[in-house]
Symmetry: C2
Subunit: 600 residues, 2 copies
């Protein structure tokens, strides 16, 4: 078969047909030979019951040998028309395994597979009831002592966690926990979400006043219920809070608000958790089979220990506790840190008339919001993408179809373009002494986000304040010690301070496992997030996927869920299917669990 | 041009082109000649600033002569492909007027127009901000004393109705008022919704426990925010209540709950209303320019005056006050009426173990829910319609494209089919003494709904109870008088009764005008609803459209809004555009206001 002479769709169809036949026999080595030598196969649950990228023919063949007998993939069918661009043929397809249906994407070069994506969409026999299979809502006919919807719901709320046990408990009721709970509800997995705040959405509402989402609306939809088409591009925090609160209600989630999780212990013999929570002044012990920590990537504040902090007479708090600038007009404010929150907080303080100094300890990647929208997200998540037929589902799968191994190579040229387009902007920042970077390899924001979850600011205005000196900047220094009314920097200078904000980021999510379960379990599981890229704050070796996210961990029945709204939306699908499969007693052999190489 | 030799799309394009040219010159008579002699043109606001069907060439020509100079229609363009079926060519199109853009539908027979629909979709220069023109949500840049979204919203809520006046007040916060308010919000028309209940959705929650929507989910979407695809086919009342409550919140409506409207007076000189309401124990006088009564077709209970009612020792109430069967197990219950509510209430009482008798005064049209879904609504509102590409928008416009003059002719054969399909079911009902009809002309449920808003039951189970005698039936009689513990029927028999429910329907919506404004204004406006078909409870002469609904009335600045969820959704679009046009001071010459011929 030749890439020149045959139509793209036919090439994809032929490749799928041959590939399907090889898997069917099964001949793992023949199938692996259909990949390029360094071909990449990203599997989201379908084959591996894991989130796994197989890199190179050898890894692909090994995976197939291990999984084919039980997974029994078949029914590979092209979906829609394939396309051809610069010698790469790309196409969508559907397929089945013994227990599931899936969607996939393939890129072919010279007849061989460069990248393959396989994703699980539903479990056979346990499909979501939607569309034509939705429930009736009323039972036509007449029945003595019929229960109304409200009576059933009220009974469920009264009994779940007391008379009956949830199969799954999710700690954390932000967008992550909520979206996952909605998927589990649609899959009929009894679930309780534990949230310490009073209302769904409070984790947004309680943050600093000026906060808006930095990602645009097309990227931010929750599962099942997209925002209406007038929704602002950048949702203000209280508006997204209201949306989450509404979502919890209409999706009928069992959401235990104002409830604090005290501890969780796994009983390996009983194969269940004992999760102790405080609800309405009462201690309740829940006994779920599965426990999800959805406490947020930004859930575990990291506050540096600085000598003298206890003597400081002004206000000091971590950025996560900073509720806004209202009280600080006219005050001398020092903000330690130079990432998103630091910038937002500095700008709001300046708008309120405070005297603001940002302490930048190390370089930061800055990208203008417009450039990010136009060049990075726009092709998949924008009004023009929608017009071009790229629905949220297609965008998510397209995004997922690029293995992390390749992703930086796609981003480097985009950020080179951004650096040119916004050269004047970056120059002004440099002139002001701001330490800039584009990531160790110039791959920009999203790679930094994946590798270390920090180190960047999406500029919506604060950079201009820094460039023209309205926000004062001290860069390349840290706070050495704190006095009663000032901070002393590592360069020996002293800055008077009435207010000190630690915009110093967050620890790895396994810190929550340490806090709620035990240090032993946290260490057993290891660090969450990061790819092992060997770049700053992302030590190797290379992992190929985010550590511990949405996939089995080294602690049985413990899962981590989080990330931005896009990731929460898309990856909750795979986490929910893994949990549902276990509830239904399906065989879920996990292929290639990761080694634990870093503890935090 | 010939219907045989030319492709449908080309025929429609040619017709539109010739029609557009005639309107452009303008030559009303030439344009009218392009219709069949009895051709029908249904206009929703675009030409007439009214909701109006012109019946026959003469009426069409007269309308064109009156409206063309100002309306200046142009840019007629076919949209999508036209179709051909049984000699009728049908196609969609878009067009513009001087002040608006619109969508339309045309049916051609032998080259002439049989039916034409023109609908206004947006006002030029006052388009809804959506999709690519949606607001940013955050103002990038930095601004001293910036207001957050929450602060702006809180300020608006505090000031609207007090420091500033709404342009529009809607009395009634059911699905009608809420959907209209959402449209007005998107059009930036300051609006307050007045609702006497404590929470949005309470008008559903407070009804009898077993109530579910009788219409299926595809028919019931609110504007802008469709139900997610797992939503039950028939929404339980409390679930729809929660949805409405959520909708009010996320659409940012100014919803004054627990607020009672006391009176409304129009000041013709000032061209504004004084609407007196009680809110949180305070009397507030609102001064809007426009007043909408969205109190519901079923808002004004009709309770017959029966001698002895004041002596009855048991519970007696109108069906609208009936909260459910829970207290009535084992009781002797008499339900007066034989329409939807009567059937639902009887069934729930029987399920609760009550002894139930239904009093059927006159014949009822009964149709099985399944048959209604399959044969009547299914072609436009169902999962299979969606699969065939019939979105809610297309379904609504298709539904609207059949002038009321013709609608019964489409429905008669459908109900003939239903009568055959369910013959055995109807026979069992007749055997039980139930008085059945299919409407005066056999056109069934929806025509009864349009003509009189009553006289039918969508069977979801109660008919079976009647057929086998578990619900006792007394038909062809009425209650003559009421004793302390029984009712005496017009046939002289006495029925012991502990509970008496008046499922006796509702009065015309202009009863609300009488109650809130004055009898004089109610009479000036006349009866709402009904087509003037000359059938039972719908006295002629023929009106062509529903009386007073969603269009200018004989009282300046007074509007009526209501109907089922489908009508509320679709016709709120036209009402909202009429109100917006007035707010912006556009010229809105109303063509052909109706005569008032019936007072209630």
């Amino acid at each position: 078969m030749s890439s020149d002479s045959t139509a793209p769709s036919q090439q994809v169809s032929e490749w799928l047909s041959k590939f399907g036949a090889a898997l069917d026999r099964p001949e793992a080595s023949v199938a692996a030979e259909m990949f390029e030598e360094a071909g990449l196969w990203r599997d989201l649950v379908s084959f591996t019951w894991n989130i796994k990228t197989l890199e190179g023919r050898e890894a692909i063949e090994a995976m197939l040998k291990a999984t084919l007998p039980e997974i029994r993939p078949h029914a590979w069918r092209i979906a829609g028309e394939a396309t051809s661009e610069n010698g790469t043929i790309a196409g969508w397809f559907t397929f089945e395994t013994a227990s599931s249906r899936g969607k996939g994407h393939v890129r072919l070069r010279d007849g061989r597979c460069w990248t393959l994506l396989t994703t699980m969409t539903e479990l056979k026999g346990f499909e979501e009831k939607k569309g034509a299979t939705r429930i009736s809502g009323t039972q036509h006919g007449v029945f003595k002592n019929r229960q109304s919807w409200l009576e059933r719901k009220t009974q469920e709320e009264a009994e779940l966690g007391y008379k009956t046990q949830p199969y799954c408990v999710i700690i954390g009721g932000g967008q992550g926990g909520i979206g996952l709970a909605a998927r589990l509800r649609r899959l009929d997995v009894p679930t309780i979400v534990i949230e310490r705040h009073d209302r769904p959405g409070d984790s947004w509402r309680k943050r600093y006043k000026s906060l808006c989402l930095h990602d645009p609306v097309w990227y931010d939809h929750l599962p099942y219920l997209p925002f209406p088409d007038h929704w602002p591009v950048f949702s203000p925090k209280d508006k997204i809070g209201d949306w989450l609160e509404m979502y919890v209600k209409v999706m009928e989630l069992n959401f235990w608000h104002a409830t604090e999780c005290r501890s969780a212990r796994y009983d390996a013999a009983a194969e269940e958790w004992a999760v102790t929570v405080e609800r309405e002044g009462q201690t309740v012990v829940l006994r779920p089979k599965q426990l999800v920590l959805a406490t947020g990537m930004s859930g575990m504040p990291h506050v540096p220990t600085i000598p003298g902090a206890d003597r400081f007479l002004g206000a000091q708090h971590h950025s996560s506790r900073h509720s806004g600038a209202d009280e600080y007009g006219g005050k001398k404010c020092v903000v330690l840190g130079a990432n998103n929150s630091a910038h937002d907080i500095c700008a709001a303080l300046w708008e309120q008339g405070a005297d603001v100094t940002m302490i930048q300890r190390s370089s930061t990647h800055v990208v203008k919001s417009d450039s990010l929208m136009d060049l990075v997200l726009g092709p998949l998540y924008s009004e023009s993408a929608l017009k071009a037929g790229i629905t949220t589902d297609i965008a998510d799968l397209t995004f997922a179809s690029v293995p992390y191994k390749l992703l930086h190579t796609l981003h480097i040229p985009i950020y080179e373009e951004i650096a040119k387009r916004d050269a004047e902007f970056y120059e002004r920042l440099r002139q002001a002494g701001f330490l800039l970077d584009f990531g160790d390899d110039g791959s920009g924001l999203f790679m930094k986000y994946l590798r270390r979850g920090s180190g960047y600011y999406i500029n919506v205005g604060a950079s201009e304040l820094i460039a023209d000196g309205r926000i004062k900047l001290r860069s390349g220094v840290n706070i050495e010690r704190i006095l009663e009314d000032a901070v002393v920097l590592t360069d020996g200078t002293t800055l008077p301070a009435d207010v000190l904000v630690y915009a110093t980021g967050y620890g790895s999510m396994n810190g929550w496992a340490a806090k709620l379960i035990s240090q032993e379990v946290a260490d057993q599981v290891g660090k969450c997030w990061g790819l092992g890229s060997g770049t700053t704050k992302d030590p190797g070796p290379w992992e190929g996927e985010l550590r511990n996210m949405w996939k089995p961990t080294r602690q049985a029945a413990l899962w981590f869920h989080g990330g931005n709204l896009h990731q929460s939306r898309h990856y909750s699908q795979f986490l929910a299917l893994q949990i549902k499969a276990r509830m239904e007693g399906l065989s879920t052999p996990v292929y290639g669990p990761s080694e634990v190489r870093h503890l935090r």
